[in-house]
């Protein structure tokens, strides 16, 4: 397949575009995803002013029309519920929840309806839908627009949860998510949108639930995901300079989670550091540590370590937010501390 460098944003856009071309039952909706401007009052003017708040869906409304790319009122419960209802009656909706921090106004439709419908109906229904949403700190977007919160979704039976770290993974995982027959939460870290990477032009899929070893190494396993993959790789480079050869496992999807990949790596390296931007309590970080402490305990040579955001909301001030987010330095020093 021919590849070229595109951004994470473009990769996501392309996955939707290609899947919508492939399957007429795939539709997309959310606040400003068409960009308001394709409405009659703008006839003859710029047709695509927005395409989502960070321009991820730009170009889709012109190509597929208002019938398949719909703006919504600010009514997340209604349109996520609509996605659940549409998915269980024949469509494959992609609903955009602008920021994951807005889950609080629509969580029932996700966790009590979308996630449970199949089970409650005794398997006699399916809910093939994707909810795309932005996560992550670093944009000075403060306490209500900077969370990760994916741990909450991984906690919920019936949901699948995906957190890609590269343009290549984003496109392949989103294609899989759209074709998947279960409800999938697909999280995009806002600081990754401008990141570039080689991506095939055609359609391809990456299976959900398969981790990717982004760097091989023998000394310590770093299990991580999303934007933290890049910080971990940066730390790994520095550690390599000190002769410490870490393995970086990018989970990519956290429900299902690739237990085998985690355990295999830890059995090789004998120690574990989890790097996770989410808050620390009852989180993905504790989940991975608990897995290892129960299933690979005998292989461990050192305490398991977790590097996470603190147990605080995300502060606004750049001076504080930079302290909030796990840093390359902390990763380096934590890995080193295991060898003392």
């Amino acid at each position: 397949m021919a590849t070229r460098k595109i951004t994470f944003r473009e990769a996501i856009n392309e996955a939707m575009r290609l899947e919508m071309r492939r399957d007429p039952t795939v539709i997309l909706f959310g606040e400003d995803v068409a960009g308001g401007a394709t409405l009659p009052h703008m006839e003859g003017e710029n047709k695509e002013a927005w395409g989502g708040v960070l321009a991820v869906t730009q170009g889709l409304a012109p190509e597929f029309g208002r019938n398949r790319v719909l703006d919504t009122p600010i009514s997340e419960s209604a349109f996520i519920g609509a996605a659940v209802g549409a998915a269980s009656t024949g469509l494959r909706p992609i609903a955009e929840l602008m920021f994951v921090d807005f889950l609080g106004v629509c969580f029932d439709q996700i966790f009590n309806q979308g996630a449970k419908l199949r089970y409650m109906f005794g398997g006699k229904a399916q809910v093939p839908m994707v909810i795309r949403s932005m996560i992550g700190a670093g944009l000075r977007a403060a306490a209500q627009h900077s969370g990760c919160l994916y741990s909450i979704f991984a906690h919920i039976p019936g949901l699948k949860t995906v957190v890609p770290s590269t343009p290549y993974d984003a496109k392949g995982l989103l294609s899989s998510a759209i074709r998947d027959n279960d409800p999938v939460m697909f999280f995009e870290h806002k600081l990754l949108y401008d990141m570039e990477g080689e991506v095939p032009e055609d359609n391809y899929t990456i299976p959900l639930g398969v981790a990717d070893v982004k760097r091989e190494g023998d000394n310590t396993t770093i299990v991580t995901l999303g934007r933290m993959v890049h910080l971990s790789l940066e730390a790994a480079e520095k550690l390599a300079g000190d002769g410490i050869d870490v393995e970086v496992v990018d989970l990519r999807s956290i429900s299902p989670i690739d237990e085998d990949a985690i355990l295999k790596s830890v059995k090789k390296t004998h120690s574990l550091v989890v790097v996770d931007e989410d808050n620390p309590r009852c989180s993905l970080a504790t989940d991975v540590v608990a897995l290892v402490a129960s299933e690979a305990f005998d292989y461990l040579d050192a305490p398991c370590k977790m590097i996470t955001a603190p147990h605080t909301p995300v502060p606004f001030s750049p001076a504080l937010e930079d302290v909030y987010i796990p840093s390359v330095d902390t990763i380096v020093s934590t890995v080193k501390s295991l060898r003392e």
């Binding site: 009122p73 609509a82 009656t89 469509l91 199949r118 109906f121 005794g122 398997g123």
Partner: protein
């Protein structure tokens, strides 16, 4: 108007099925045969029956925690319903859902729902599906007076109107949300007044008057089918049983309960149906006997059905999960 004698017998059968089903479940609950939270629809039969008579199997409904009536009116198999209420493997949901989650997507019944107001957003889904694919399917969203205060209902009505979806919102105002009277929890004079908030037609009808409901629902459903968008119908009635089984209904006065009994929707319908010669005493007797047998059989079916295998706890969470 499309009101024929044939349809009226259909409607009567539906109402009697609901009544007998609910009376039987009340009995079974009292005997300890049926567990859990059970909300009975008796008293509100005219609503489900008068609305669903206008729907085909390809149309959809969303329902509430008080969903047995909707299921029956939408044609869900009575045996599988009763088995579900028991929690048996033969139940409509293999025993995994229970009374509060009986569903049959094939029949267009998108599930009773334990979350008040959740059906509004869900109903927009098949509405959007029909619009996207260009079919003429209509979706009816049943919700209670208490549900009218949930944000989800507001959002759903606004979204359905924005998108001109083929929906009908049917509010079953039985006067109470659990023990709280509608006069306390609802600031509107009529719940149907809220239609103005979405610039759609809104009307209040007597929820014990099958004929009124039949007519009003027909108009609204036709409108939706023509692609002209949603309507709101408020049906004022009552429930005979408590909020759920186990509730002694101490929050209603004896006077109120008597007043309700005097407005029985089935009696009311029989009387007027006979007067208008839409059905005969003989037909009524035939339906009554036949339905009694159906309910009896359903109980036997449920009693004889096996419990689900314990492995069933773990299945049906996902279509596939590696």
């Amino acid at each position: 108007m499309s009101l024929t004698s044939e349809k009226m017998i259909d409607v009567y059968e539906t109402m009697v099925k609901i009544r007998m089903f609910e009376d039987k479940v009340a009995e079974l609950f009292a005997e300890g045969k049926v567990p859990g939270f059970v909300h009975l629809y008796a008293g509100e039969e005219a609503i489900a029956a008068g609305v669903c008579i206008h729907l085909t199997e390809r149309d959809y409904i969303t329902s509430t925690h008080r969903g047995h009536g909707h299921c029956i009116a939408k044609g869900v198999n009575i045996n599988s319903m009763m088995a579900e209420v028991y929690g048996k493997a033969n139940g409509a949901c293999k025993g995994k859902g229970g009374s509060m989650h009986i569903a049959d997507v094939e029949k267009g019944m998108l599930g009773a729902n334990g979350i008040v107001g959740a059906g509004g957003p869900l109903a927009c889904g098949p509405g959007l599906m029909a619009k996207t694919l260009g079919t003429d399917q209509v979706t009816v969203c049943f919700f209670g007076d208490g549900a009218a205060e949930q944000g989800t209902m507001h959002e759903a009505m606004n979204l359905a109107c924005c998108w001109t979806l083929p929906l009908v919102f049917v509010c079953e105002n039985n006067g109470y949300a659990e023990s709280t009277p509608c006069s306390y929890h609802c600031a509107a004079k009529n719940i149907s007044d809220r239609a103005v908030a979405y610039d759609m037609p809104g009307v209040t009808v007597d929820g014990t008057d099958l004929f009124a409901i039949y007519e009003t629902a027909e108009e609204a459903i036709d409108r939706a089918r023509r692609g002209e968008g949603p309507s709101l119908i408020e049906c004022r009635g009552f429930r005979y049983y408590g909020h759920f089984e186990g509730d002694a209904i101490l929050y209603m006065t004896e006077e109120e309960k008597e007043h309700n009994r005097a407005r029985d929707p089935i009696d009311n319908f029989k009387k007027r149906g006979l007067e208008r010669r839409l059905l005969s005493e003989a037909q009524i007797a035939e339906v009554d006997t036949r339905v009694a047998a159906i309910i009896k059989e359903a109980v036997e079916f449920a009693e004889e059905s096996a419990w689900p295998d314990s492995e069933e706890v773990f299945t049906d969470v996902y279509v596939n999960y590696p």
